[in-house]
């Protein structure tokens, strides 16, 4: 089932408000989505017809199916950015990846993530504050931009090594510079400069902070 982007965004917003236990009013939803109240009504109606949302005590909530939809949307988004495979072959595999059904198996087989890292990853994307689109991988930040680490997705060894160097979730990092041609990214974290290889940096997901230095 393919879902139009605006509807997904709506689901994301409802999901976030649920996770934070802060119900949102319809006008806020409409504002966030940048559409009119009538359009929102139509969207919600459409969503509930598809069985993605339900109205309980005057509040819109995600149904189980909606939750699954949000999760796989988030997975797909993260996957787009994860450990970038450049070149033609990369694009071909990405094209094939576009129709992944069994995400868990895909992460395990193609990206070598074990059950433990996956468990953490799923909890991470569930607890994500705000929409997943606000999360970017470290390689997307421009020099001078700052971000707060949301999570690092990788094998135990990598994640642990990153943590040892001070890149733990919740830590603010500032990108100092990138090397050309998919070279490393230099970041400043806890008062120290670290160079992270392109592959490593693309596995560190941050929430961009507003404003630059």
């Amino acid at each position: 089932m393919s879902i139009e982007p605006q509807l997904l965004e709506l689901l994301e917003l409802i999901g976030t408000s649920e996770a934070q236990n802060k119900p949102v009013r319809p006008d806020e939803l409409a504002h966030e989505l940048g559409c009119s109240l009538e359009d929102l009504e139509k969207l919600l109606e459409n969503a509930s017809k598809k069985g993605l949302v339900e109205r309980i005590a005057d509040m819109w909530r995600l149904t189980e199916r909606g939750r699954i939809e949000v999760q796989s949307h988030r997975e797909r988004y993260i996957h787009e950015k994860y450990g970038h495979k450049p070149g033609f072959l990369g694009r071909v595999t990405r094209f094939i990846d576009g129709s992944i059904q069994d995400w868990r198996g895909h992460w395990r087989r193609r990206h070598g993530l074990d059950e433990n890292s996956l468990k953490g990853f799923y909890k991470n994307i569930q607890d994500l504050e705000g929409r997943v689109e606000e999360t970017s991988s470290l390689i997307e930040l421009y020099p001078g931009e700052r971000g707060v680490i949301a999570f690092a997705l990788g094998g135990y060894g990598l994640v642990r090594r990153l943590a040892d160097m001070g890149l733990t979730p919740g830590t603010e990092v500032t990108v100092i510079r990138n090397a050309p041609f998919r070279g490393p990214v230099e970041v400043s974290v806890r008062g120290v400069s670290l160079a992270l290889g392109y592959g490593v940096a693309s596995k560190v997901f941050v929430k961009r902070s507003k404003g630059t230095d």
Partner: protein, 655 residues
């Protein structure tokens, strides 16, 4: 007579905090550098005498954590936990307090008696960071001595503090590291069980530390626990607890624990460090900006390398001429005169040709290039330029399954393969090191450059010589890729500290150069001399010529070289530049244009460039990777040289 007490002090800390500088300041030249038993991790040990104590100082490898990620980390923590040095000096970079305290916290968890050297306080002040050492000392419950290692400031106080701690004049009340409630409760439970059920292991390591390591899912500790009697039960319990923590936090349990440690470290750093607004763009930052720049960085890198090798060759050349003169015209004749009086002529011949010319060759040909190379290398290292090189060259290195740090080894290789091979230790895993060593020995070192320039450069032209270099780089990448695919295991990504630029201290540079040169002499000279003796013995007995005859089909038939080229190639195993000298000797002329055709020159240079690294490099390979792998690399290189040489001969003959 006063009785001297022997004590052991271990220096522990992150990389780039000035640990080895403090080690050098404390021990002077009285140091022994070797390996940890069974490990390819450098072990530096020195002795000093202080107020009636004989202090053995041990420099532990520079690490960021006591997890079991690298061999260095395991070596360091096993040493601290099981050998129990009398005092540990934790060397901390005052300008990067938070990250350094993270390591300090782990040392505290190991429960070792500890003194902190708060180093680089001058540099921190320049960055606008002032650390209140007394406050820090109170917070940690251990003495903190501010030091500036490069100038030696604070060394005396550091020593007297160590002694006071030993004599009980300073009482240590080390901070107990406590985690958040949901971890702490579980940790205490686990600790109690470990104390109860694993008395042997908890006699060796602190029980709480074992518990923390288990919750961190530390493979090394898991294994140790599983090996002891009721260990399976404990490790199952620990895994269950770790999973609980993971369920609560949604992060791998080691990450949760690291986060908490960093929480403590960052709180403490905020408390004791006073940060003023740093001055405007300082010179170091400007340098940093330019040298790691995505465009400017590369021409600067090329310039630095060109300047480095030009200096090495110019200085080396002057030294070679001076030393050769000294040896050949003065020392050797003098010694031979002395020997002739006592020994039969055949023996004198053997000694002179084998032994003496072995030493002479080492001193006159290898050292003049190696020593300037080491000096420049130490300067580049101490300024902090090498990490920038690794940063700029990370991407191409990934193509051969290595990361940026390997580019440093390759660059070293252009000077001499011996330090380059040993330099592969900067790589994190055994797989990376082996791969690094494998490609490094293919890099034409200074000696091979002499051959390439002296033959191809001089008689065919510099473009042809550069072509050979380019071809060599191609080979490095092609073979690196093959090795990358053939070796099992996942490549490791780059995670590297970029230390700020610093002014190097000439004293440290001199000491490093001395230590490395000594190291090189120890590895290389015995083999050069032994090799010279063997080859000379073969020559005296006439066996050499039979071997040369046996090799004829290969040399003449396959490679298309004149028959006399075989002997120089055999001797080249000793030192590659010898091939040229011998070729001149055997052909009786210095004008190689009369002996070899241009195609033969290229083939000869190619073979010399690729086939086995010299005997000193083989020794370094053996030291780093053991016999089997060293032999495998050497054989691959010989076969490759023959293949490339033969193919080149056939291809080039068409033109």
């Amino acid at each position: 007579m006063e009785t001297r007490r022997r004590i052991t002090v271990a220096l522990a800390g992150n990389a780039n905090v000035g640990k080895s500088v403090i080690f050098n300041q404390l021990t002077g030249l009285d140091q022994v550098i070797g390996n940890w038993p069974g490990k390819t991790v450098e072990r530096a040990e020195g002795t000093l005498h202080y107020h009636g104590y004989t202090v053995k100082i041990l420099d532990l490898p520079g690490i960021y954590s006591l997890s079991a990620f690298s061999i260095e980390e395991i070596v360091a923590r096993d040493y601290i936990a099981t050998e129990r040095p009398d005092v540990i000096v934790n060397i901390v970079d005052a300008s990067a307090l938070e990250r350094n305290l993270y390591f300090t916290i782990q040392l505290l968890e190991l429960g070792a008696p500890m003194v902190m050297a708060l180093n680089q306080v001058d540099f921190a002040a320049k960055k606008g960071i002032r650390v209140d050492s007394e406050k820090l000392s109170k917070a940690l419950g251990i003495p903190v001595v501010p030091t500036v290692a490069i100038t030696g400031t604070g060394m005396d106080e550091l020593l007297s503090t160590i002694v006071k701690v030993l004599e009980g004049k300073i009482k240590l009340t080390p901070l107990k590291i406590r985690y958040g409630k949901e971890i702490e409760d579980r940790l205490e439970k686990l600790e109690l069980t470990i104390r109860e059920k694993l008395p042997d292991l908890s006699a060796k390591y602190p029980a709480r530390w074992i518990a923390v390591k288990l919750l961190e899912r530390d493979e090394d500790m898991m294994k140790k626990v599983k090996d002891s009697a009721p260990g399976l039960e404990i490790s199952a319990l620990a895994s269950a607890i770790a999973e609980e923590i993971e369920r609560i936090h949604g992060e791998p349990s080691p990450v949760v624990i690291a986060s908490e440690r960093y929480g403590i470290a960052s709180g403490m750093a905020r408390d004791v460090a006073h940060i003023e607004t740093p001055p405007k763009l300082r010179l170091e930052e400007k340098l940093d900006y330019i040298t790691a720049h995505k465009v400017l960085g590369y021409p600067i890198l090329a310039l630095v390398m060109a300047a480095m090798f030009a200096t090495i060759f110019i200085i080396g050349d002057i030294l070679v001429n001076a030393l050769e003169n000294l040896f050949e015209n003065m020392l050797i004749p003098a010694i031979l005169d002395l020997l002739s009086a006592a020994l039969p002529p055949a023996l004198v011949n053997l000694v002179s040709k084998g032994f003496l010319s072995g030493i002479a060759a080492g001193v006159t040909i290898a050292l003049p290039y190696i020593v300037p190379f080491y000096i420049i290398l130490s300067i580049l290292e101490d300024t902090g330029y090498l990490p920038r090189v690794a940063f700029l060259l990370d991407n191409p290195m990934h193509k051969i399954g290595l990361h940026g740090k390997a580019s440093i080894c390759l660059l070293l290789g252009y000077g001499c393969n011996v330090p380059a091979c040993i330099g592969c230790r900067i790589m994190e895993t055994q797989r990376e090191r082996l791969l690094g060593g494998f490609v490094t020995v293919l890099i034409p070192c200074a000696a091979r450059t002499v051959v390439i320039l002296g033959l191809v450069g001089r008689y065919i032209g510099i473009p042809a010589a550069l072509g050979l270099y380019a071809f060599d780089l191609f080979l490095v990448f092609a073979l690196g890729r093959v090795g990358f695919k053939a070796l099992p295991g996942e490549p490791v990504g780059l995670i590297m500290e970029m230390p700020p630029y610093k002014m190097p201290s000439m004293k440290t540079v001199a000491r490093k150069t001395w230590a490395r040169t000594r190291d090189f002499v120890y590895i290389a000279f015995p083999l050069i001399i032994a090799g010279s003796l063997v080859l000379e013995a073969l020559a005296v007995t006439g066996l050499l010529w039979s071997i040369a005859d046996l090799m004829n089909p290969l040399i003449v038939g396959w490679l298309g070289l004149p028959s006399i080229a075989g002997i120089p190639i055999i001797f080249g195993i000793l030192r590659k530049e010898l091939t040229l000298i011998l070729l001149a000797d055997l052909s009786g002329t210095l004008n190689f244009g009369q002996v070899l055709s241009p195609v033969q020159m290229i083939v000869f240079s190619l073979v010399t460039m690729i086939y086995v690294p010299c005997i000193a490099t083989i020794a370094a390979l053996v030291r780093e990777f053991k016999w089997k792998k060293a032999l495998a690399i050497s054989i691959i290189d010989i076969l490759l040289a023959l293949l490339v040489g033969g193919v080149a001969f056939r291809l080039l003959s068409y033109f």
